[in-house]
Amino acid sequence: MSNIKEIIAKSKMFVVGGIVVLILVLLPLVENIGNNYILTLLFTVFIFVILSQSWNLMGGYAGQFNLGLAAYFGSGALSCSLLISVGLSSYVAILAGGLLAAALGCIVGIPTLRLHGIYFAIGTLAIAEALRITVANIFPGWSLVPSTYWETYSIIERYYICLALVVITIIIVYSMVNSQVGLALKAIRDDEDAAKATGINPAKYKILVFIISSFLAGLAGGVFCYFRGSISPYHQFSVDWTFGPLMAACIGGLGTITGPILGSIIFVLLQELLSQTVGKAYFIVTGVLFILVILFLPGGLVRSRESLRRFLAGLISRKSESNTSLF
């Protein structure tokens, strides 16, 4: 009986998803083509969705807080721009950006395997920061692509590429999470030793998610470069590109597929709304929202109904003065 319910729920999800994608596909054709503003806005949302899904894959499902995500985004952007400027086809360059980022992820992922929890977080952060400084010293300033670039620039084409990447990302993440791999990841997240005891090799899965996560981030970097036409290594490697997606994923809901999507939309919309006012207000508001969500809606907005229910129940009964809390 519940099986049928599950199937219906899942198909509902697919249908909704399909409709959304359809709308997004048709959008540029309906709006007047000169409306770059909306397309650019959506593009930013797409980038954030890819990055937050990427971070969420490691952080939400595997429990590995990778604070160095920016390095993979940046390296994807950097390699893409370098490859385009030597004449490589753009799509190939984007893909190459992703693959190179994945390779970087492998290189970083293997030694950091033995680091747990907080050590892993600050270790990946340190490596990313070190990379940023090194890259900024080697490639100072803006990296431009050839001037012929702008003659054939079509924003719609870039929009569709990015949309395609978003869909691919979600498909990849979805299939990973709902496969044996996903189960293994959750087991590792909840209790690594127990997972080992059931024959799961944590190292294998941790490396796998690291590589896939970096691949996706690198793709995002590549398409970002493709869209912007120029990048600044200093900025693309900056921690902002880690923390933004991180916050989007957390606000939306760690460990879910829809969470990062929702979070990214909110994140980018907030930025748009608030950047008209005092520019910094955006960061402040986002920061406060982030803190509030962590404290009061753990599990993010996607699970907010559940969290609110528990919170209210807690106010009433004595039972939920849980014996697992500190005071």
Partner: protein
């Protein structure tokens, strides 16, 4: 020449040690990682800066004022942001503390930028340029004074933690909070005070930084990263070896900068960091 490099290393290492001590106090006692520690350092720097600029308070005189103000700020921060973390199950608290304090960085840094613009600020006194020379080594006067003050602060902290009853209860709580509570120690209050002291230390470091170097609203993160390196060097959770580890990092950085050049200074520290993490994660000084 080498002596000069080492002296510069000690000068900045002392600051690293001070910042790291504050961070490690919070982590050691409560097992919360305050990533925004660097931002609080900068707040302390701004307090010192404005006391100097508006009321001509000598930066050294302002240090106790800054420390008091930051202590009070720490009490508020604990009560509003950190104590609610207690409701989470044990395994999640550290992670959530990192997330919350990360959000705090965004808020604090940008509020500071809003209030005081992102201009670079520094405290320059009439004696800022005075340099002593001893055996061919240049010793800037303010650096010497800062070293002196820092040593006083660290020694005072040591005495507090080891000679006073309350200080001992803080150490006891750090070692085993459940046992401490079973002896009648009010854990909540202990955490409250520890947080305040941690901020006070950050503030003192900030005042020193404003005097010896410069501050901007966003420069907190780099100090935090250094402090993290020091923490891992000394061994996460150890409050004692931290100061020494800070000095060690400072000297090592300066020596390598001598060879590699200034732009890669941070990379050196981060490189050491990663090496330690991979080879000896429990740190150098941990028993």
């Amino acid at each position: 020449m080498v002596a000069q490099v080492i002296v510069y290393g000690i000068i900045i290492g002392v600051i690293y040690g001070l910042v790291a001590t504050g961070l490690s106090l919070l982590f050691g006692v409560m097992r919360y990682m305050n990533i925004a520690h660097g931002s609080f350092l900068i707040i302390g720097g701004y307090i010192s800066y404005w006391l100097f600029t508006l009321w001509h308070m000598d930066p050294f005189v302002s240090i106790p004022v800054v420390m008091l103000a930051m202590f009070l700020l720490g009490l508020i921060v604990y009560r509003v942001l950190l104590s609610p973390l207690g409701k989470f199950p044990e395994g999640q608290r550290l992670g959530n503390s990192m997330l919350i304090t990360f959000g705090l960085i965004l808020v604090l840094d940008n509020v500071m930028c809003l209030l005081w613009t992102s201009d670079v600020r520094a405290v320059t006194t009439s004696y800022s340029k005075v340099v002593l020379e001893l055996l061919g080594v240049r010793l800037p006067l303010i650096s010497l004074a800062v070293i002196g003050i820092t040593l006083i602060v660290i020694i005072a902290l040591h005495l507090f933690l080891n000679r006073t009853y309350f200080g001992k209860s803080i150490r006891a709580t750090a070692q085993n909070w459940e046992a401490a509570s079973l002896l009648g120690i009010n854990i909540d209050r202990t955490y409250l005070v520890a947080c305040g002291v941690s901020m006070a230390l950050a503030g003192a470091a900030g005042a020193a930084v404003a005097l010896m170097y410069s501050i901007t609203p966003y420069s907190g993160l780099q100090w935090l990263l250094r402090a993290l390196v020091v923490l891992v060097l000394a061994g996460l959770g150890s409050i004692r070896g931290v100061f020494l580890a800070g000095v060690l990092l400072g000297v090592t950085e300066q020596v390598s900068v001598f060879f590699i050049g200034g732009e890669y200074r941070a990379v050196v520290g981060l490189g050491i960091f990663v090496l330690i993490l991979l080879l000896k994660p429990q740190g150098l000084f941990r028993q």
